[in-house]
Amino acid sequence: MQIRDYVLRRLMILPLLVVGTSIIVFALTRIGGSPIGIYLSHEMTPAEVTELEERFHLDDPLPVQYFYWVSGVLRGDLGWSGVAAAPVTQVFPDKLGATMELAVAAGIVAVVLGIGLGTFAGARRNRLPDHLARVFSISGASMPVFWFAIVLLIVFWVYLGWFPTGRSDPNVFGRIAHPTGIYTLDAILAADFRAFLDALWHLTLPAITLGYGTTALIARMMRSSLVEELGEDYVDAARAKGLPERLVLRRHARRNALIPTVTVIGLSFGFLLQGTVVVEIIYRWPGLGRWMADAVLRGDQATIMAYVLFTSVLFLAVNLVVDVTYAYLDRRVVLGT
């Protein structure tokens, strides 16, 4: 049926886009100076450098170089990170865990608060709560994350001392094992309540900072789709059946309004990813973002390229899933009506 065609089409384009992205990344590595910069490390001898040059066929035309670079990537060779003094692929998993924890926490906050706020505002259209929600939404879209983080730090860390920086208290952190790389989960698995609290305590400020903009975005989308649904005939028909307003809202309007809101989640994910760079710098969070920021400042090309590649593929994948979910949920879309 139509959903299947749609999914197939998207799936077929996906590899194309990934290849396209890799070409851009490859182009960037070539622009950035020495072509094998990403593989070099300080300890290499001139002989090893020459060997590298040969391995990656630097004398051959660009497309050939591209091919060898890609095969390197697929083999897991993403180069050497000057910042971390280790191969990229080795350092990646640890940092990934930290960033994912932050992003997911922020995402949960954003989705729950955003949907709640949006529903609240949409049901009270053009009254005070709605206007306040609008102000919140616009401020969220205009908020420089780095500034918001600093302001929060100044208030809650410097002056009030309620929250810490960093990801954890090293003593508490060191006490438990870290199978998943996600502090909160590890704490649960180790049944260590204190570690769990420690994790949450450190997670609070960064997650709020990161989630602010996304909350505003989701709230705005939710509000406008709720208002749209409330104007539809079936809502009046539901009222005509004698249903109390809360049921009309919950079972009819809100449920249907959630569907278009799903589309914003894909976008939000992109924002969350981007935000982690800045948030991790300011809160000294040991994740991918901070690693990337250091890499940028110290010319660590391997990290930069790996990061771009990773985030793009992730972004593409998430968007694909979201679009397919949306097509599945909204039968109206499927029928093209």
Partner: protein, 306 residues
């Protein structure tokens, strides 16, 4: 009851302009009806005024006014110290100076980038729309690829690879942000191409270009204006973020750089060097967002029923 037949009327160029002007006046009035938009407009005017009058309002003590002044005798002064209403940085730079010249830097940045991206986007989008076929396919795939990389990260990578400088930030942003405009104009062309009107016009002998000029461009102007207004704010936001991360020149009188420089003093309680410049970024983006939203409500409304 007889049907009145209206003979076709040739509208002369002069009166068409008059119609356009009148419509512009109506739109302007409608836009100004929204208080939020008016506030945004005020802030924008204030900021642009500040930017343009910067040389008059402040005094630099370095040869390049775009560099922050250095006063080794007044390091880390808090706000309220005589001569430094907003305090000084760790290099003795007047925060107020940074705030004012920062608006000039931001204005330069946003104007150049938005100008460049609109132009590039228009060209590429028009090519794709007009030539259609393979060219269109290829160009749109390129657009899709560009859109698969999150904006900030893309700009970050480009600026990093090119080397830290203000000029490279402009370049990086231009490379990343043209896509929306390309899509907009291509969409408009495709839409017009589908109109029967076009076939009729071709029969009369109108060239493709005049159709473009008469139908595609005017209809695309409104979404482009809305997008450009929003981008004026957004570009400064992303630009400041890039500067904050460190991709700009040290000591530049730019809001992002100032926030970054002021970071070190936070744990010691020196909040002013980061807070004021950062607030300006927020205000700038907020103002343009308010106006952009207001414009969008008027020019491209989604009718809200009952």
């Amino acid at each position: 009851m007889v049907d009145v037949v209206v003979p076709p009327v040739r509208i002369s160029v002069g009166s068409r302009l008059a119609v356009r002007l009148r419509r512009f006046g109506e739109v302007a009035r409608e836009v100004l009806r929204n208080p939020a938009t008016v506030v945004g407009l005020f802030v924008i005017v204030a900021m642009i005024g500040m930017a343009l009058l910067a040389p008059v309002l402040t005094e630099a003590n370095t040869p390049d006014p775009y560099q922050m002044p250095r006063d080794w005798g007044a390091l880390n002064e808090p706000p309220g110290t005589p001569g430094f209403p907003l305090g000084t940085t760790s290099h003795g730079g007047d925060v107020l100076y940074g705030v004012i010249w920062g608006s000039r830097t931001s204005l330069r940045l946003s104007l150049i980038v938005v100008g460049a991206t609109v132009t590039i986007g228009l060209i590429i989008g028009s090519l794709a729309g007009f030539l259609g076929g393979k060219v269109d396919e290829i160009l749109m795939r390129v657009v899709d690829v560009f859109l698969s990389i999150p904006e900030l990260i893309f700009a970050l990578a480009i600026a990093a690879v090119l080397g830290p400088s203000f000029r490279n930030i402009i370049l990086a942003l231009a490379v990343v942000f043209w896509v929306k405009y390309a899509r907009l104009i291509r969409g408009q062309i495709i839409h017009v191409k589908g109109n029967d009107y076009v076939d009729a016009a071709r029969v009369i002998g109108d060239s493709r270009f005049s159709i473009y000029r008469r139908d595609v461009l005017p209809n695309s102007i409104t979404p482009i204006i809305v997008q450009a207004t929003l981008d004026m704010g957004h570009i400064v936001l992303v630009g400041a973020t890039l500067s904050f991360i460190g991709l700009s020149e040290a000591g530049l009188a730019e809001w992002g750089v100032l926030v970054s420089d002021g970071q070190a003093g936070i744990s010691a309680g020196r909040w002013w060097a980061s807070t004021f410049p950062g607030a300006m970024v927020f205000l700038w983006a907020l103002a343009f967002n308010l106006v952009g939203d207001g414009l969008r409500d008027v020019l491209d409304p989604r009718t809200e029923k009952r």
